[in-house]
Each structure stands twice: as structure tokens, then as C-alpha cells.
């Protein structure tokens, strides 16, 4: 976030807005410590219900999405978008100069859900969030794990399960090494078992 704050401060006079979207299913409280630490002058909003991941179909963060003044998406990068990557910054600067940002990076995924599968995943995510809000976490995790079995490449869902089961790995600081090892271990287990969850859905890429 500090890098984007520097970028924003340098271009404050330009006619654009930089907005960070926190994908936090538990609401703004989870994002607040990080926001307060960085003191950004650009707005931070919270996507508590996965509205944008459903609309845009992304399965991982951090993402960058460039929206023109007519409200139309001109470029998007799902996963790995960073102020520390010169190629990402160059695209944003080109876009802000009014130039064509070019083609969006190809999203390399082994499958894409059909409309009914997508609806089922979204329903299970919403049900999980409702259960979680009622302090029925165990049942919430069961729903999220069911959603993950349908959409096993979706790191937004996978991290939601992790955050529920291992909150100490996310707050007050995020243990990135643990996440990398956990992902590696879970995928190895899923591929070895030929399933992506305990109920036995096939792993599409194995």
C-alpha cells in the first residue's frame, strides 16, 4: 500500500481516482489495521460479500482493474498485480495518459465454471458468510469448503477458509511463508488423492 500511496501522491492533480478494494468477508474491521498503518489518501472500500469477484470472475488477488471515465473496464490483471512490477506501473501510466493500455494478461486457469456452477459457488459463499455472521463458524467453513471443491483454483475462497481456521496466521500480521507452504501442501494432498476436498470432487488439472 505505501507504494501506491506514493504513486497517487505524485499524480494527485491528474483526473483519476485510485481506489483500493479490500476483499475481506468479515468486513472493514479486518482491513482497518493495514489501512491505518499506511495512511493512504486514496479511498479504501470493502468487498464483504464478494460482489466484485463474482462480477469480474477473479480467483486471486492482488488485482489491478482500469476503468475509463465511462465506467468501462479497459484492462485487468488478475493475481500478481503490484506497484513493484514496472510492467504493471507502465500500463497504469499509459492508461492515465489516455493511451490504450493494451491487451489484458491472459488468465491461465485450467477450467472455467459454467453459469450454474458459478451460481452454486456464489450461493455457498453467501450462505457461509451469513452463518459466519451468526457466529456459526464451523458451518460457515463447511459451506466455503464446498464452494472451494467446485472452484479449487479460487484463492479468494481458499484464503477465506484459512482465515477462519487459522486466524492467528492473518492477524495482526499475515504469515506469507505459512500461506505458501499451506497452499503447496493442500495442492499436493488434493492431487495425490485425486480430489480437491474431503467429499471427493475430481481435481481438474491433476
Amino acid at each position: 500500500m505505501p507504494g501506491w500511496q506514493h504513486f497517487y501522491a505524485q499524480r494527485r492533480s491528474d483526473n483519476f481516482e485510485l481506489i483500493s478494494v479490500a476483499m475481506e468477508h468479515t468486513g472493514g474491521d479486518a482491513a482497518r489495521p493495514f489501512v491505518e498503518q499506511a495512511h493512504p489518501t486514496f479511498p479504501t472500500v470493502v468487498d464483504e460479500h464478494g460482489v466484485t469477484s463474482t462480477l469480474l470472475g477473479f480467483k486471486a488477488v492482488p488485482n489491478g482493474v482500469l476503468v475509463d471515465e465511462d465506467g468501462v473496464i479497459r484492462w485487468a490483471k488478475y493475481g500478481g498485480f503490484s506497484i513493484d512490477k514496472p510492467e504493471d506501473v507502465e500500463v497504469v501510466e499509459r492508461f492515465l495518459r489516455g493511451e490504450d493500455p493494451g491487451p489484458s494478461p491472459v488468465q491461465d486457469v485450467p477450467y472455467t465454471l459454467g453459469p450454474l456452477e458459478r451460481e452454486l459457488v456464489d450461493s455457498k459463499l453467501r450462505l457461509g458468510r451469513l452463518l459466519d455472521s451468526l457466529n456459526r463458524r464451523e458451518e460457515a467453513v463447511t459451506e466455503w469448503q464446498a464452494a472451494l471443491r467446485l472452484d479449487p483454483e479460487n484463492l479468494v475462497i481458499r484464503k477465506q477458509v484459512w482465515a477462519a481456521e487459522h486466524p492467528e496466521k492473518f492477524h495482526p500480521t499475515i504469515d506469507w511463508d505459512w500461506q505458501r507452504e499451506q497452499l503447496k501442501q493442500e495442492r499436493e494432498n488434493e492431487i495425490a488423492a485425486g480430489v480437491c476436498g474431503p467429499d471427493g470432487s475430481p481435481v481438474p488439472w491433476a
Binding site: M1, W4, D14, N15, F16, E17, L18, I19, S20, V21, A22, M23, E24, G27, G28, A30, A31, R32, F34, V35, P43, T44, V45, V46, D47, E48, V51, T52, L55, L56, G57, V61, P62, N63, G64, V65, L66, V67, D68, D70, G71, V72, I73, R74, W75, A76, F81, F95, L96, S104, P105, V106, Q107, Y111, T112, L113, G114, E117, I174, P204
Partner: protein, 49 residues
């Protein structure tokens, strides 16, 4: 599972005016309001970044 064309490419051109989220205070926030100033760069993240 079904095989469909690249999701991201299909989303290019999506109208974002009606996207409604919440601000840090839990109040409704609409992307349409930000677009009054011009183009918008959205950065999605989770936790620290």
C-alpha cells in the same frame, strides 16, 4: 466442469457504474461517484499488501 473462453477477456468492456460496496465506516459506496472525477484505477487485495 465446463470449459469456457478466458474469463478475464470476456470481462473487458464490463460496465462498472453500478458496482456498490461499503466504505471503511460501513456506509454504502458506489463506483459511479468516483467516476465523476475521471478514470479509476482499482487495486484489489486482501490483508497486508
Amino acid at each position: 466442469m465446463s470449459q469456457y473462453p478466458n474469463t478475464l477477456q470476456r470481462k473487458k468492456g464490463t460496465d462498472m457504474h453500478n458496482v456498490e460496496l461499503t466504505d471503511q465506516a460501513g456506509q454504502p459506496w458506489q463506483l459511479a461517484g468516483a467516476l465523476l472525477r475521471g478514470a479509476v484505477v482499482l487495486v484489489f487485495y486482501r490483508g497486508d499488501w
